[in-house]
Symmetry: C2
Subunit: 211 residues, 2 copies
């Protein structure tokens, strides 16, 4: 039923985690059945869009009865490859890196930070959440050996490209970068960015000075 | 020259901050002139797309000579309303809130965190970066009085909707939420979300188990 990855637009793939998050919330609220209408209302997305997005991957709902929450959760987890737990390396243990290392929100969502790297001699050897901060000089070998495919970059902008190069050489295929700079990586590597200022500027466009 | 906001797709507005960030980086590298080709190569966006996006707002480049970096920066800052500095309130001073309060990357990009709120009695009164943490009970009045239009939510998911309601009542028109839950707000209020897991899941879709 599933088509090849290349046929499914990335924008559709990008909405699946939003559906999954909403479904898990419904499940926490004790709901067993939902519909594209209800999901759509919660998410501000049209029910037609949700049905169309899901139809890329199979038939999950029954006409008139809607979706079984637990089944759709399991299907989306399988499709997104988060029916397992990925080890994640985090590079750059400043304020933000520390906050992310402490963040409890990755567990049960498919990811677990298992390695921390920094190049500050004062931080190397320090323990955060039972993880020892390793020197960046050990990054490539450690990641290769552990078979880690996903990394987060929380270094300053100036170091981010260099770190990205090392991560790619070590076999990482997905990078989430908090550094406010666009990274250059080979085509087979995925990069996503988190820069709060980009979000703020996208909204300040709509704000008038004092309305 | 500028059309009314409603005619310009939000997806176009969303790319302007990315262009602005790249231009500022070019300026830091000492460059005075650039082109849609160069910008496109740096950003992985086609030069035609960049020219089309900018054409919504006016004529910024000259045929054959490209864009003057400083001029295009100033124009984009004006369009995005970041040729000023917006006061920003941050609600929820946990690990992440603290890291964001300490983050130096907002300055010179149009935003300044000026108010911190939390409901933990042990945190209220504490100073971070010369800002005193205020109780959430003072949120509405303080924000209204200060005329603050932009807020960040870094509370746990369960408190986020309640906080959003208070922010909207206080006159906030733009919310950046780090809480992993979709918020319900009136149509005139903009919300953007940062949830690292959504980005990670969007990428893990493309990763095979051990390839």
């Amino acid at each position: 039923m599933r088509r090849s990855d290349s046929e499914i637009p990335d924008i559709v793939v990008g909405r699946l985690p939003i559906y999954l998050r909403a479904l898990i919330r419904l499940q926490q609220e004790g709901r067993e059945i939902t519909s594209s209408q209800e999901l759509g209302e919660r998410l501000g997305i049209s029910s037609a869009q949700i049905r169309k997005d899901l139809s890329h991957f199979g038939e999950f709902g029954k006409q008139g009865t809607g979706y079984t929450v637990s089944t759709l959760i399991a299907e989306l987890q399988r499709i997104l490859h988060v029916d397992r737990e990925w080890e994640v390396a985090l590079v750059g243990v400043g304020d933000l890196g520390r906050a992310i290392a402490h963040y409890g929100g990755f567990a049960h969502r498919g990811f677990c930070i298992t390695h921390l790297f920094d190049n500050d001699p004062n931080k190397i050897g320090e323990k955060i959440n039972n993880l020892v901060i390793q020197p960046v000089s050990e990054l490539k070998e450690t990641i290769k050996k552990a078979g880690i495919r996903i990394a987060m970059i929380t270094t300053p902008a100036d170091s981010a490209q260099e770190i990205a190069n090392e991560l790619v050489e070590a076999g990482v295929g997905a990078i989430l970068s908090y550094a406010p700079v666009t990274l250059s990586v080979p085509k087979h590597v995925r990069v996503q960015y988190i820069d709060p200022v980009l979000h703020l500027q996208r909204m300040s466009y709509y704000l008038n000075d004092r309305d």
